[in-house]
Each structure stands twice: as C-alpha cells, then as structure tokens.
C-alpha cells in the first residue's frame, strides 16, 4: 500500500480510440493489486486492470482538457485515461510504475489472491495435473524406459524436474557423465514417447563440444536413446537454432554434436531465431496494431516488416519436422537449442500437439504445458517479466507456441477441443501472476517458494469453466481429430492473430461468433435430449395421462436459441469509415456534423489501442472470459460473471 500515492481520482475519462465520442467519465481507484475504473453512468461499469499485467505506463503531454495517461498491458490491451489534474496524473503514473514492477516474489498477486478455497481443496487442486500419470498414459515406464533418481534434490541439474525418464540401458555413470557434457547439466531425457512407432522425442541443452571436445558418456547416452527404439537404426538430433548461431557457440566451448563422434545420428538445423530477435519482432507487430489509421498497404507492409509470421512459421516447421520423423519415419529425435528451455520447449510441445490427439484436448494441453514448459524449467518469471529485472531476458516464447496452436486451429477447425478463448486466457495467466503455476523459473525455485502452500493452481479453475473454452466443432470421432496432424506450412496459411493482437479494432467479429452460436445450439440440443428422456420416463410412469410439458419446453427452447444475436447492439461503430479517410490525401473539405475527428492535439492519442469493451453489445455475448484477468469485476473473474448472468 505504501506505493499508492493517490488511491482515488475523480472525473477521469476513459478514452475510446476509434470513437472518441464513446469515451466515458468515471472515477479511478488504485488498490494494491488493481487499477479500477468505475463509470459514472447508471450501470457503473467497472474495468479492472491487474497491476502485474501492466506492461508500461506512459504520460503524454498535458493539454487543456487534462493529462493523458496510457496504460499498456502485457496482453496487448491498451487503456487511455484523461486525468484532469496534472499532479494526480503524475501520482498515478508513479504509483503504477512502481506497482507494476514488483521487486520480489512476495509482492506478486498470487500470494494475496484468495478465492476462498479451503486447504484441502487447494491441495487437491495442485494435484489436478499428474505428470506421472501422463507418462504412464504414454506407456512409460516400460521395458526400455524408466525413471531415474539421478536428479533427486536437483543434484544433477537445478532446472530440471526431480524425476527424469531415461533409457533403461543408460547406466547412472553415463547419465552423470552426459549431464556434465551438457550446458547447465541439462542432459538428454524423455519428453514424449510415441506408442505407435516406439520412437521418442528427447530433449537436452547443447553439448559442451567446442571445436573438438567429446564425451564418451554423452555419446553412450545418445546411443542408448537410439537403441530404445528397437525398430530404428538411426536417430535425428534437431538443433532448433540457425546453423550460424550454433557454430558461433562453438567458440565459447559449446556448440552441437559432431556427427562423426556419435553413432548413426543425423544432425538437422531448423533455424528458429533467438529470444532477442523474437522480442523485437513482436514489438514491431504490436506497433502495427497501434497504427492510427493504417491503409491496407501500411498494415501488410508492417506485418511483413515485423517478421513475426516468418518466425511463427519457423517454429511450426520445427514441430512438423519432428512429428514427421517420429510418426512417418519411426525415428527418435533429440531436440535442443542452447539451454534447451525456449526453442526446445516450443519444438517438442508443438510436435506433441501434432502427434497426439490427446494434447489437442483441454486437459491435454494443460498437461503438455505442465510437462514441456513448467516442469522442464522454462523460465517463466524471466521471460514474462513477473519481476522487475533484466529486459533482455524477456521474450514471447510461450506466445509463439500458443500462436502456432492457433494457426493450426485455423487449418483444422474440427481438430481441437478448445477454442481461441482458451489460448488467450492461458496467455493472460502466464503473465498475470494471479495463480502460482507459472511463478518462478524452474521446479526447484517453485518448491523453495512453497507455491503449492501459498498460492492457487490455475488448472482446476480453467477446467471448471471448460464449457466456455469448448470448440463446438470438436468431436472425438471426427477424422480431423484422429491421428497425426499434417498441416500445410505454405506461407499463405499464416494469418495475423486478430484475437490476440487486434485490440485496436475489437469491433464486429466478437459480436457475432458462430462458435458461441453453435455452442448455444449444442447446449440446447443436449438439454432437449435430457428433457426428452425425462419425459419419456414420466410417460412410461403415467401411461394413461398425457403430459403437456413437452410442448412448453419446446417453446422455451426456440426462444433460447435466439440468445446469441446481439439485437440491441449497434453492431459496430460507423466512425470507422471516417477515420479511414483522415489519412487520405483526397480527403474532402467536409465533415459530418459530429465530433468525429476531434483533432488530436495532445501528442498522438491515436497511438493507442483501446479495449473497446465499452462498445455496445460486447457484453451480450458470453465472451466475458476473453478479457478476464484484467478487466473483470472480481479477482475470481469467471465466478463473478457467472453469478451475474
């Protein structure tokens, strides 16, 4: 609380970027965890922004109407406030700047977030995802693979989980020796076992090979992995870095496997760029979304120039390569990059999504993230800037994984049990620090923080609300659901993810969602069927009397089906067409009688994307959760929304 200089500012305006006349007046509150804006209007609509989701706060030059303040969030929402007094604005700026950059774990929201669960439920919640069960689902341990205690108490590798699965034929000495020859001790271990072909995906960090070093243990380790696939005499080593980067690493005593030293390995580079390239690429992409009134060419040029989709393709290509090796060639693959916790996690998890239909379900994706990302030491707190730290450690690694899954969903609309909303919700919570799942950088750190005792787990919460995250087109017996996915990776398949980055224009598509409509239809159908069978039972009981309930229900139903239509909404803002003209050279000497182009005097207020939840109609649809975490009514957003509706 000591960081809050002004807990309450009145007469603040929340500005809508595209339609300034839709701006609303209200009161701004600062709490220790949220910035809250309450409208003065009858509805007293509340907008909650979690401090830990704030990316940065920027003050624009003061103008006669007040001091504009820009709050950019890590989930790409942008809020633009106009504060009447400059002093208040400076206070809010200073408070928010401090509050959005916690200096130690103890300050994070998850340690104060309390959804009123008793201790027993909380413990049970943490057991919701069981990685041991996941490996046994794959058929592990087996006669070829077993669990090793080598990393008990994180002796061998601090950033790995304590339980590791390795080939039975690898002796403890080999395991230890191999770990010594790998960057940060991240030795090759099992990530995914493909039952159909007995080929496996293993992961590690780069070998400490330099220009000539070798390790008999590491060579034996790889040999053991290859031998654990009885039908194949070969294994791939996929180095996910561009070859040039890998070669440069040799100068620092690291590098890649020398094919001559290892028996029957085939080395393959797949060229995913490093975290720094990705960070700046995403920044450029976000900037494109914030362009004030871009022409089609500005937009496409900006998209190309950001290189973002190129990188997304590279990540997906890596996944496709691995999945093909495992499923079609039946060859095991060892995946690594430099440290084996960013690109390796992307490639392994994507390959798994392609290979195994289970990971395309809601629960399955949770398991996959828990396994390939959380347990194997993806540095969540560094990458997603949970604490004020080195900005060079920040990078949208997980964003890219989620986007690859989204791109796959675009190609295979029936193959995934979850919908886009689920991915966006995951994205938000990776950054939000509301739950303990993604706090810290590895299992050991999480254990030391006693997260399971002090915080809550996200997974059961998402699971309870799974109805909202379900793709209506998913059917377990559909051909797209079965087997291995073979996506096209032609350039034209990659699209701009509007749901994630397009907050400047959250106008229409969200109002009319076919998925929501279908879900409603599905729900009704199920209800109907249940009612039908109930009635049949009753009919059987009351053989003589007819029940009249059936007809009544039918009527009720046809009313309900209409629910998805935003009848009252204006469907979109007509101002679009005028903003589009403003940048045109031939723009007319003409303005319609409205305050449309209230010329932006104060700096560049257009350089801002506004969360347009203020636009009419959005609330009609069941899309509450797409923005949960930052602008909902309660800590436990979804619960609150449920009771409201």
């Amino acid at each position: 609380m000591e960081h809050i200089r002004t807990p309450k500012v009145e007469n603040v305006h929340m500005i809508d970027r595209l339609t300034p006349r839709k701006s609303t007046a209200g009161t701004l509150y600062l709490s220790s965890t949220h910035t809250i804006f309450v409208e003065n209007s009858e509805a007293r609509k509340e907008t909650w922004v979690l401090h830990s989701l704030v990316y940065n706060v920027e003050r624009l030059p003061t103008n006669p109407s007040g001091s504009p303040l820009l709050i950019r969030c890590k989930n790409f929402h942008v809020y633009r406030l106009l504060i009447p007094q400059e002093k208040d604005c400076l206070d809010v700026l200073a408070s928010l700047t401090r509050l959005s950059r916690p200096e130690c774990y103890g300050e994070l929201f998850c340690f104060s977030f309390n959804p009123n669960l008793d201790k027993e439920l909380r413990e049970k919640a943490w057991g919701f995802i069981d990685l041991k069960a996941e490996f046994s689902r794959m058929g592990i341990p087996s006669n070829l693979w077993h669990v090793t205690a080598a990393n008990h108490e994180y002796r061998l590798c601090e950033t790995y989980p304590s339980e590791l699965f390795v080939p039975k034929s690898a002796f403890p000495a080999v395991i230890v020796g191999s770990a010594k020859f790998r960057s940060r001790g991240r030795l090759p271990v099992l990530s995914y076992f493909h039952r159909d072909t007995s080929a496996s995906i293993c992961r590690s960090s780069q070998p400490l090979s330099g220009f000539s070093a070798r390790s008999a243990d590491d060579e034996q380790m790889l040999h053991a992995i290859m031998k654990s696939n009885p039908v194949s005499e070969l294994m791939y080593v996929v180095d996910t870095r561009p070859k040039l980067n890998a070669m440069a690493n040799r100068a620092t005593g690291k590098g890649y496997e020398n094919e001559d030293h290892y028996t029957n390995i085939k080395l393959q580079f797949v060229g995913i760029e490093n975290i720094h390239v990705m960070r700046s690429s995403q920044q450029k992409l976000v900037d494109v979304g914030e362009l004030p009134a871009p022409s089609m060419s500005d937009f496409l040029w900006g998209l190309e120039n950001s290189g973002w989709l190129k990188h997304i393709k590279a990540v997906l290509d890596a996944g496709v390569f691995i999945a093909k090796a495992v499923a079609e060639d039946g060859v095991s693959v060892l995946v690594h990059c430099s440290d084996g916790w960013d690109r390796t996690a992307q490639a392994c998890s994507l390959a798994s999504v392609l290979l195994d239909p289970y990971y395309r379900t809601i629960k399955g994706l949770m398991v996959l993230i828990e396994k390939d990302w959380v347990s194997f030491g993806h540095k969540f707190s560094h990458r997603y800037a949970h604490l004020d730290g080195d900005p060079k450690e920040v990078s949208p690694v997980m964003d890219q994984f989620l986007e690859c899954v989204w791109q796959l969903m675009q190609q295979f609309p029936c193959a995934f049990e979850f919908n886009e909303r689920f991915l966006i919700q995951l994205h938000t919570h990776i950054y939000s620090c509301q739950y303990g799942n993604f706090i810290g950088n590895c299992q050991k750190e999480r254990r030391d923080l006693r997260l399971q005792e002090r915080t809550h787990s996200l997974w059961p919460h998402l699971w309870e609300n799974r109805a909202e995250y379900t793709n209506p087109l998913y059917r377990t017996d559909h051909s797209q659901t079965q087997g291995v996915l073979k996506p096209l990776t032609t350039a034209y398949c990659f699209k701009f993810w509007k749901g994630m980055y397009g907050h400047a224009d959250k106008s229409v598509a969200s109002h009319q969602s076919p998925a929501d409509c279908l879900n409603a239809v599905r729900e009704e159908s199920q209800q109907l069927e249940e009612e039908l069978s109930a009635h049949q039972e009753r009919l059987a009981q009351l053989k003589e009397k007819k029940t009249s309930g059936g007809r009544k229900k039918t009527n009720k139903l046809s009313e309900r089906v209409r629910r998805p239509i935003p009848i009252e909404s204006k469907l979109s803002s007509p101002l679009d067409y005028f903003t589009a003209t403003r940048s045109e050279k031939h723009s007319p000497s003409f303005t319609l009688p409205l305050e449309l182009a209230a010329p932006p005097k104060n700096g560049d207020p257009d350089d801002l994307s506004t969360c347009s939840d203020f636009e009419s109609g959005v609330a009609d649809l069941s899309s509450h959760s797409s923005s949960a975490g930052d602008d909902t009514k309660d800590h436990d957003s979804d619960e609150a929304v449920k009771s409201n509706t």
């Binding site: 089609m296 190129k310 032609t490 350039a491 598509a509 009319q512 969602s513 005028f578």
Partner: protein, 536 residues
C-alpha cells in the same frame, strides 16, 4: 463457320489427367462445341469431368519428341488448362498431332465472340422450361412491391426503346415530379445517358441512394437545368444530399478536359460532394492477376508472400469499396441524408458501392432471394457490361481490353461482410463461389451480354435459362444456405480496419488442401444444426 469445324480431333484415348491433390487418372478425352469431357471408366464406376470451354482462360501446350516422327511411339504432348474459376489441370495426350489439334480446338472454341453461339443457347435441361417470365423481378414489379416509393417516386418508361440510355433497362424509377422530357435532357448531360435513377430507398427514413454517371460539364463548366432540378427533386425539402464521387478530386477535375466533370457546388447548392478514390478497369484486373499468381506459388517465404499480397493491392480495393459503402450507409442511416453515387461511366464501382451499401443497410437484401434480386437489379438490369468485363480472368495471356473483375470484387466484399457477421446473411460462401464461377462461364443466360438492350437483341430471355431462377427453384439447395442465419433489422457496419479484412481463401485457395478442412468444418456445422432442428 460451324463450330464443329474447329474440331479436328474429337476423341483421344489413354489421356492422363492431373489435378491438384488428386491422383492422376487415365481416361478418354472428348472435345465438343462447348465442352471438354474427360471420362474414366474403372470397374463399372465411371468418373467424368465436364468443363465448359468458355471456362478455360488460358492453355499452355508442350510437345515432347518434336524431332521424331509425328506418330512415333512415345510422342506425346501435355496441355495445361487454366480455368477462369482458378482451377488448373494437366492433360497428357498421346500423339503429338492429337495434342496440337485439341489445343487449337480449345483455343478457338473457348474464345467465341458471338453471343448466340454460346452454350446457354443450347442448354436444355429437362427440369427447366423456357416458357414463363425470365428473371426474378422487373423494375415495375420492384416498384409495386415497395410501398414506400409510391408517394414520391414513379416508374418512367422513357427508355423503353433504349434510345435515351443504351445501358439502362427499359424502365427506371425517378422522382414523381420530374417528367420524361426533363429526364431526356438530363440524360444528354450524363455520360452514356446514365441520368440519376433510384437505386434504393431506406425503409426506416425514406432516404435514397441514387446512381448515375458523371455529368458532362466539360472544360467550360456547362450546366443542365433539368439535371439540377432532378437532383433537387430527390432531396425535396430536406436540407442536404451527398454526392459520393468515386474519383479523387483531382481526377474529377481532369475529367473535365475530356468532356466529363462533376457537380459544382454553385449549381447543386443542396448537395455536398465527397471524393473517394477508387481504382478501376485495368488496374483492378491486374491486381487480380497478381493476386492469383501470388497464391499459386507455394514456395514463397512468408515475407515474400506478404509482399506479393500487398503488391497485388487486391485487398486495398476491397478496403476502399467497403469503406465507401460504409460512408454511404452512414449518410443514409445515421445522418438521414440522400446520396448520389457515381464515378465516370457509372457501370462498375458505382454499382459496387451502391449494392454493398444495400447489403449493409437492408435486411431484405441479405436473404438468398433478396441478394439475387439485388444482383439482378443493380448489376444485370443496371447494365454492368459483363461480357466485356469477364471476357478473361486471371490466367489469360491475351492483351487486356475491357476486363475488370468488379463483380468478383463485390463477391469478395460480401464475403468479408459475411465473415464479420456470420449470422446476418441467409446465404453461404458456397453461393458466392457459385456466382464467381457462373459469371465467367455459365450454362445460363443471366450473365450474357452487356446490357438489357443487347440481351433483347440477342433473344437471351427467349432462348436461355435464368440462373437465379434455377438457383431458387424448386428449393434452394442446402449448400447455399447459412445454417446459422438469424435475421437482424439493424445495419451491419463492417469493420474496415485492415486487420479485419482477410484474403478470401475460399475463392483464391479454392483448389488447395487448405479448402478441404474448411469444407469438413462446414459440414460439421450443418450436422450440429440439423441435429438440433430434428430435436426441436
């Protein structure tokens, strides 16, 4: 010359057909006056591919064994057929001479110029009859059905012999107080005689969308009193009307040098002019060519693809069409003013903008019947020169004459609206795709000729079937319906932010694997909806 004289080799056996994402097939190839027929017989089950020769946009032939003897063993040729619906096929034909014969037949027969030789004049399916009225509606019928017009508007037959305006239909709707003499004078003052006529009258406030061609003010700023009176009668008492000129102000100025021009403020005092630049003609055709080329090269990197997509400018055209339509709707619906839309000739972008505005404004034009009626009224009767504009599509090597994919652009824009409002249109993407195909090559007479006058002269209505009628009768095919349709009376304002507009994959990637999964998704939607309907 009889059509059959173009055919030197009618039949070839053992031809191999290659299509994208299908295994190669062997079979018999047959050329007739209007069709290319490939049939493959395998254990009773036979599979046939029938292509209208008119659908063929370009063919490329490569003959192997040029130096051998013509009928030498192994001599063969390959013909690549590129269709106007963007499908590309390959035929491997044994025998060099046969190959060359077939290629030259296709070349000759796919580019027939005479309307009455075209296939719609020969198409006689058993379930359709040539008796009865042709088309869905006429101007008179439209007027009769639209009660809100009766008070201030009338049907004029001034053009009944097509002498006032050769590209207009025989009947048009004009303000009641303007008599036919005034119309004739106004027509003389407008390019091609296209004087301002009613296109749409808004149901909620009676405001109208008019369309015309440019006024012929010329360099010395000629005036036409009747034209001014006609427009004055349109706004009748209300204070203001908007003229949406689909050219930049500079272009409109330049048009004066060649006899065209724009409505000056001093002469049309109650009208405000807004200029919006739209590309037209050749530029748009070239965009289509570039876009299709970009889509057919699978080896592009993402950067190259995006740069080619940008460079084609196709989406920019979609963007401007939708923005201007939005502007029209804004004037009519929100601000309550009437609008006159025109560019130069008033036969392309003018129709594009006025019909898009109606889809955004008018729930009636979002039903299957309503949409087809809109197309009939605003494109066919309004005299969009289909024959000239759709003579070639994206693959042709022929020198461009008057080709321009205005209609395809309309379909693309409608698709964008459908994507943004998936519940608001009664029809499906399949209907748009069907129209995109029929406009270039069809069994029906609907898209033949350039105007009503030409259609009359050629006897289209007597001798061909109407596409729209056949699509609606006896029942609308399920595939043309949107399973999620929920009518709304509101205007559906499409977002024109560039990130809201997408490549129409269903059209431009139609023949790729990409489209297959989408098809499965569509079926899944249908099965859910049907299951539900059964329960209800």
């Amino acid at each position: 010359m009889e059509l059959s004289e173009h055919i030197k080799t009618a039949n070839v056996e053992d031809v191999t057909l290659r299509r994208p994402f299908h295994p190669a097939l062997r079979g018999t190839l047959c050329v007739t006056s209007h069709h290319l027929l490939f049939s493959n017989r395998k254990d009773e089950a036979s599979w046939q591919l029938l292509i209208l020769l008119k659908n063929i946009d370009a063919i490329e032939k490569s003959v192997e064994n040029l130096f051998g003897y013509p009928r030498a063993v192994g001599s063969s040729g390959t013909i690549t057929i590129k269709c106007k619906d963007l499908l590309v096929l390959q035929l491997e034909i044994p025998g060099m001479e046969e190959c060359l014969n077939i290629a030259s037949s296709i070349e000759a027969l796919s580019s027939l110029e005479s309307v009455t030789e075209m296939y719609p004049f020969f198409y006689r399916p058993s379930h359709l009859t040539l008796l009865g009225p042709w088309g869905l509606s006429t101007t008179e019928q439209y007027y009769k059905q639209t009660e809100r017009l009766w008070d201030r508007w009338r049907v004029s037959k001034v053009n009944s012999d097509y002498s006032v305006c050769p590209s207009y239909p025989s009947a048009v709707i004009v303000p009641r107080e303007v008599d036919d003499d005034k119309l004739i004078r106004s027509a003389r003052f407008r390019q091609g005689g296209r004087f301002p006529v009613l296109s749409y009258c808004h149901h909620s406030n009676g405001m109208v969308i008019m369309r015309s061609s440019q006024p012929l003010t010329g360099a010395n700023k000629k005036r036409c009193k009747e034209d001014e009176l006609l427009l004055q009668a349109v706004i009748d008492g209300s204070e203001l009307g908007y003229i949406i000129d689909l050219r930049s102000a500079q272009q409109a100025q330049q048009a004066r040098m060649t006899g065209g021009g724009f409505e000056s403020k001093s002469c049309y005092r109650h009208w405000k002019r807004i200029h919006r630049h739209h590309e037209r003609g050749k530029v748009v055709q070239e965009s289509l060519i570039k876009l299709v080329e970009a889509c057919s090269d699978l080896s592009h990197s993402v950067d190259r693809w995006l740069s080619k997509l940008e460079n084609s400018k196709w989406l920019s055209h979609v963007h401007s069409a939708l923005s201007t339509a939005g502007l029209v709707v804004e004037c009519v619906e929100r601000d309550g003013h009437s609008v006159l839309v025109h560019g130069s000739e008033g036969t392309d972008n003018t129709l594009l903008v006025s019909s898009l505005a109606q889809i955004i404004l008018d729930p009636a034009s979002r039903t299957v019947t309503g949409f087809l009626c809109l197309l009939e009224r605003e494109w066919i009767q309004a005299g969009h020169p289909f024959q000239q504009r759709c003579a070639h599509s994206a693959y042709s090597h022929a020198r461009l004459k008057q080709e321009c994919p205005s209609f395809l652009l309309l379909l693309d824009c409608v698709w964008q609206v459908w994507r943004q409002f998936p519940l608001a249109l009664e029809f499906s993407e399949a209907l748009l795709l069907r129209l995109a195909q029929e406009v270039y090559a069809s069994n029906y007479g609907t898209f033949l000729c350039n105007s009503e006058q030409e259609r009359c002269a050629a006897g289209v209505k007597e001798n061909t079937h109407c596409l729209f009628q056949s699509m609606l009768k006896p029942d609308i095919e399920e595939q043309y319906l949107n399973p999620l349709y929920e009518p709304t009376d509101l205007a559906i304002w499409p977002s024109v932010h560039p990130q809201s507009l997408q490549l129409w994959t269903g059209m431009f990637l139609r023949w790729t694997e990409y489209a297959q999964n989408m098809e499965e998704a569509r079926e899944e939607v249908w099965s859910i909806v049907k299951e539900h309907r059964e329960r209800v």
